[in-house]
């Protein structure tokens, strides 16, 4: 690759199959890739957005307008594009909503840098200007945040509604909103001053195809897709006493290798009897606490079922998931026990009011509901097809995350692109105070923010140029900060009046992620690809186990200098 002037034969430093892209070319190709990713999701922004249908290699389909869900399914080769896709994931995990905006914004920010790269402005100048602008943006956003009352149902509803507004399920209006708020409120757990809202573990969405959307509910308890183990058992119990186990109720062999030597027929019988006896003992221990329902994560033998049914007419459910069991423990106030002989009265759950097994569609489902203080819940979704349900679930997840962000950080900013427009306006004003060459990228970033209202306008088929000019004019006036795009009508509206809000937490995260990642991509001037993955630079080193004599109290990391 590096031609030797002395001899004709070139000296090969790198392996033949490595490819390099350098300088401006690398930068421009990164920007192009990022824009391509942004273009994929661009049409899914806002209330008039369209869904994407994605086919996975297995032939399954995903229908969604969730930025993260779309990008997750797409297999990209370009490294910069991969980096973009990671953004959506980071956004999703941190705040749950705004995944599309972050991608669209990052794409636009990179595009804004393109002209500077073309004009040979040093990328570090652009990067520094961007970081400076980000600080300004974060400051203004915090400043514009409007406090709301977390306990007021109205306020929370407003914000969740505007989040759902951009999603597929917004045509069912309040329904999904109510579901999300109720579910989120259920799992709130106050411990001291910390508020714990663990949606991932304690709010489970159960999808059952069939029925109508209107039948979706948040249960005051949990449900799972399991039937009772035997048809004779009771299917409906009021105020049940529930025992939760995570051990099998059947004979199990020991861990150690054991052999029995049998010398006569009697021994064999005895062996079988003792196995039976063992199970019988287990059952007696369970019967001691007089439960109505026994639920275990493992199996239940026929013999055991017979015994328990005869004993106290106990209803049994086997092989439920660990996560379901955890939720159940919270709902009915039981402790998950492992050894039946150690069952105590406190371990029995009595908090829930109703145990019921229902047949929905073709499957049996167990409901444990009417709990006094359920700190966990199941959300039952009904709908025409599985794909629709999947999309509603994604929407619901987003909505719950939004509700969670608002409860934790109760501050709102106007949505519908109003905030971006205001930021752009203020930054452009501010840019005149920025010294030197940085002024231009600073200004460019400000203009790039306008991509959000512009895309909204585009997606709802409005007259983009006219709307944008009008909006810009509104924002240049004193009290213009509330004006944004009404994505349903394609007009300019006061966001305060039509109640379109976004949580500050989501917006802040969007700007941070988009700008930081763009800066990282801009700083690259060399792409080397095609290396084999043989050498990992962090090869394990043997010295880790034996710290040197003068190291004293140090441990672990071989990278120490």
């Amino acid at each position: 690759m590096f031609a030797n002037p002395m001899r004709q034969q070139p000296v090969m430093v790198l392996q033949n199959n490595t490819k390099r892209e350098q300088g401006k070319k690398a930068q421009l190709s990164n920007i192009k890739a990022a824009r391509a990713v942004a273009d994929v999701v661009r049409t899914t922004l806002g209330p008039s957005s369209m869904l994407k249908m994605l086919l996975d290699p297995m032939g399954g389909i995903v229908m969604t307008n969730d930025g993260n869900a779309i990008l997750r399914e797409i297999d990209v080769a370009h490294p910069a594009a991969k980096s973009m896709i990671e953004l959506a994931r980071a956004q999703d995990e941190e705040v749950g909503d705004g995944t599309t905006s972050v991608i669209v914004l990052a794409g636009q920010i990179l595009q804004a840098a393109e002209i500077f790269i073309e004009k040979r402005v040093h990328p570090t100048v652009v990067v520094n200007a961007y970081f400076k602008a980000m600080e300004e943006i974060l400051k203004i956003t915090e400043e514009l945040g409007v406090d709301i009352d977390v306990d007021s149902e109205e306020d929370i509803k407003k914000i969740v509604t505007s989040c759902i507004g951009t999603k597929f399920s917004h045509k069912w209006g309040d329904l999904i909103v109510d579901l999300a708020i109720k579910a989120t409120r259920t799992v709130v757990r106050q411990s001291g001053k910390d508020v714990e809202i663990d949606l991932k573990r304690y709010a489970k969405v159960e999808k059952i195809p069939g029925g109508t959307i209107e039948e979706c509910t948040v249960l005051d308890g949990v449900m799972f897709n399991k039937d009772i183990t035997h048809g004779e058992m009771r299917r409906k119990i009021e105020n049940p006493r529930i025992v939760l186990l995570d051990c099998p109720l059947e004979y199990k062999k020991g861990e150690s290798m054991t052999n029995i030597e049998m010398s006569n027929e009697e021994d064999f019988k005895k062996a079988l009897e003792s196995e039976e006896e063992e199970v019988r003992k287990m059952c007696e221990h369970i019967l001691r606490v007089k439960p109505d329902v026994v639920i275990t994560e493992k199996g239940i033998s026929d013999f055991c079922q017979h015994f328990l049914m005869k004993g106290n007419n106990i209803t049994m459910i086997r092989r439920i998931r660990k996560t379901d069991n955890n939720r159940l423990a919270r709902v009915c106030g039981a402790t998950i026990a492992h050894r039946p002989e150690e069952l105590q009265e406190e371990d029995v759950g009595t908090m829930s009011g109703l145990f019921e097994v229902k047949k929905i569609g073709d499957d049996y489902f167990t409901f444990i509901t009417e709990s006094k203080n359920p700190e966990a819940c199941s959300i039952l979704l009904r709908g025409a097809s599985k794909d629709v349900l999947n999309e509603i679930e994604r929407n619901l997840q987003d909505a719950m995350q939004v509700a969670r962000s608002v409860i934790i950080n109760p501050k709102l900013v106007p949505g519908g692109g109003a905030l971006e427009m205001e930021l752009a306006n203020r930054l452009i004003k501010h840019s005149k105070e920025v010294e030197g060459l940085q002024q231009w990228p600073f200004k460019a970033l400000a203009t790039a923010l306008e991509v959000i209202p512009r895309t909204l306008a585009q997606n709802c088929g409005g007259n983009v140029v006219r709307l944008m000019t009008e909006l810009r004019a509104k924002h240049s006036k004193e009290d213009g900060i509330w004006y944004g795009i009404d994505g349903n009508k394609g007009t300019i509206a006061n966001m305060k009046e039509i109640d379109i809000w976004d949580p500050v937490a989501v917006k802040l995260q969007t700007y941070k992620t988009a700008i930081e990642s763009s800066c990282m991509l801009l700083r690259i001037d060399d792409v080397v690809s095609g290396m084999k993955k043989t050498k990992k630079q962090a090869a394990p080193q043997p010295e880790e186990d034996q710290p040197g004599p003068d190291e004293g109290h140090t441990f672990g990391d071989e990278r120490d200098g």
């Binding site: 000296v11 090969m12 970081f131 054991t258 029995i260 063992e278 402790t335 630079q537 004293g552 200098g561």
Partner: protein, 560 residues
């Protein structure tokens, strides 16, 4: 043609020297653009498609698949610098390549390589002497600000450059807190005691420094408390599953009822162990193996936080930091019973589980013995986090070096220019042929300020010439006030020369000394080579078989 030959290739004399040096220069050119505050990053993609984005010379070179043997020497060099100093990996590679380039020209002009090498060695000796006597400044004279400035200098070329004020403060605080005095009475600042965790989400500014240690895992069971004050920590290096006999041991029983007893005993064994641990007063239990579900229940009932599958290195760190002993078994030497001594417990003021991003983390704060620190890095995506991790590691090393060696020099090309001017003068005092080599070293050193200027898109020739004037003045002038000119280096943002001591562009002296040493030694090692023999790989049995098969197949095709 002689009858004796080797299977393979052979290159000799000037040919091999030129090819080696061309390869080395090629490699240096790859990393060249990442030097300095205006340097840019590289994106490295491997065949699987995994991406690394970095500015760190050592990382770039070790990720590249370098084939040429001489170039490999340079990769090793960068790794060595990374291990020994932690920072300055790019500059050492660039310097070594430049030294070689100039050496090659000398050799072409019929100066024997050994003379060049002798000159290089002499130059190295003089440079080190000069740095130590004239260019270093004690940190005590400058205080904590110097540390922060040095940390910031090392970050300035990285992605965190624009947030360097924030991160340098964090790095210096962390390093100051991990100060330990070892058993030989020396004060040490182990970088290992600063644990770096990466969680994506939020922005880099929301990274935080935690006075304690953190693990990326959740509690073993949801029923456990989320925080415990005045924690007593037990570290257990065996699993708390059901007891089982070792493989191959069989128990033979006559009476089936006894089988039941064995089964019962298996559970009771673990139960007893768990109870023993709880009774000793432990309220946080770290287990390197698994914990059976039934055993968890006892912990839940006792209100103990139990963690399972803690990696052994993490456990060892926590044990040392909290004063706990890692217990590998419970057997007692005197009696045959098992017991768990309360003295095995470590302590810390607070253990709690917190959720960062989407993941649970366990924090150990207020550790009893040593001061472990944890830096939690936040950022847009994983590539970003990895790069911040590498940058912080470099800065931590820099701060460590300064704290331990207590000497700093000015950066931004100041030291290199100063040395260059000095060597130039020194060379004139010699009468031997080494003179030529030494003045080439003097010229080579200027590659650092030149590259810095080029990367910042500035006029390198002009700036370096100006710098040289300042340094010449400082070394020759009698006037005391001119002495300060030795700290003049480049200001790459404004494209001027300035006093970098005042501007706070500082580097540890030891790092400069070492990188000069490494660069010259590597250059000498490559220069000494005058013959390269590449043996053609021997055909293995397998290869022969394959060849034979191919031939057979070819014949078969002919046949049909």
């Amino acid at each position: 043609m002689s009858g004796v030959s080797i299977i393979g290739e052979r290159e000799q004399g000037q040919d091999v020297r030129t090819s080696n040096i061309t390869a080395v220069i090629g490699l240096a050119n790859i990393v060249k653009t990442s030097l300095g505050p205006q340097g840019l990053d590289k994106m490295l993609v491997d065949s699987i498609g995994d991406v690394t984005i970095t500015n760190d010379g050592a990382t770039i070179l070790s990720q590249l698949e370098v084939e040429h043997p001489a170039a490999k020497v340079l990769v090793e060099l960068a790794n060595l610098q990374d291990k020994e100093v932690g920072d300055g990996t790019t500059s050492v590679v660039i310097l070594a390549a430049e030294l070689l380039k100039r050496a090659n020209n000398l050799v072409k002009n019929k100066i024997h390589p050994t003379t060049v090498m002798a000159g290089y060695r002499l130059a190295l000796k003089e440079m080190i002497k000069y740095i130590k006597s004239n260019l270093t400044v004690k940190v005590e004279d400058l205080g904590r600000d110097a540390l922060i400035s040095a940390a910031r200098t090392s970050m300035s070329s990285k992605i965190v450059g624009s947030e360097s004020a924030f991160f340098s403060e964090m790095v210096v605080t962390a390093m100051e807190r991990v100060k330990t005095i070892n058993n030989m009475g020396k004060t040490k600042y182990p970088v290992k005691n600063v644990n770096i965790l990466k969680v994506h989400g939020k922005s880099s500014k929301e990274s935080m420094l935690i006075n304690g240690y953190a693990l990326e895992m959740g509690r073993a069971a949801q029923g456990m408390p989320t925080s415990i004050e005045n924690a007593k920590i037990a570290c257990i290096a065996f699993n708390l599953n059901k007891f089982r006999l070792h493989m191959g041991i069989q128990v033979l029983v006559k009476d089936p009822a006894e089988l039941e007893a064995i089964r019962q005993k298996e559970m009771d064994f673990t139960k007893d162990r768990v109870n023993m641990i709880i009774e000793s007063g432990a309220n946080v239990v770290l287990c390197s193996g698994g914990i059976d579900d039934f055993a968890l229940k006892y912990f839940v009932e006792a209100g103990v936080i139990a963690l399972r599958r803690v990696s052994i290195s993490d456990m060892r760190r926590i044990a040392t930091a909290t004063g706990a002993t890692v217990v590998t078994n419970l057997s007692d030497y005197e009696t045959s019973d098992e017991k768990f001594e309360a003295s095995n417990l470590g302590s810390c003021s607070l253990v709690q589980e917190k959720r960062i991003g989407d993941y649970d983390h366990i924090f150990f704060e207020g550790l009893a013995e040593t001061n472990c620190q944890t830096i939690v890095i936040r950022g847009a995506n994983e590539y970003f986090l990895d790069e911040v991790d590498r940058s912080l590691h470099d800065s931590l090393c820099v701060v460590k070096r300064i704290l331990e060696s207590n000497a700093i020099v000015t950066g931004g090309g100041a030291v290199e220019t100063s040395l260059s001017v000095y060597l130039d003068d020194f060379a004139r005092t010699l009468e031997s042929r080494e003179l030529l080599a030494i003045s080439e070293v003097a010229e080579s050193l200027l590659i650092i300020p030149k590259t810095l200027a080029i990367n910042a898109a500035l006029d390198a020739t002009d700036l370096v010439a100006k710098l040289k004037v300042f340094h010449h003045a400082s070394q020759t002038a009698e006037d005391q006030s001119k002495k300060e000119l030795k700290h003049y280096g480049l200001d790459l943002i404004n494209g001027k020369c300035r006093n970098n001591m005042i501007a706070g562009v500082l580097e540890p002296a030891i790092s400069k000394v070492k990188s000069l040493k490494f660069a010259i030694e590597a250059a000498i090692a490559i220069l000494r080579v005058d013959d390269m023999i590449k043996i053609a790989p021997k055909l293995t049995e397998e290869d022969k078989m394959r060849l034979a098969q191919q031939q057979a197949a070819a014949q078969g095709q002919d046949f049909f």
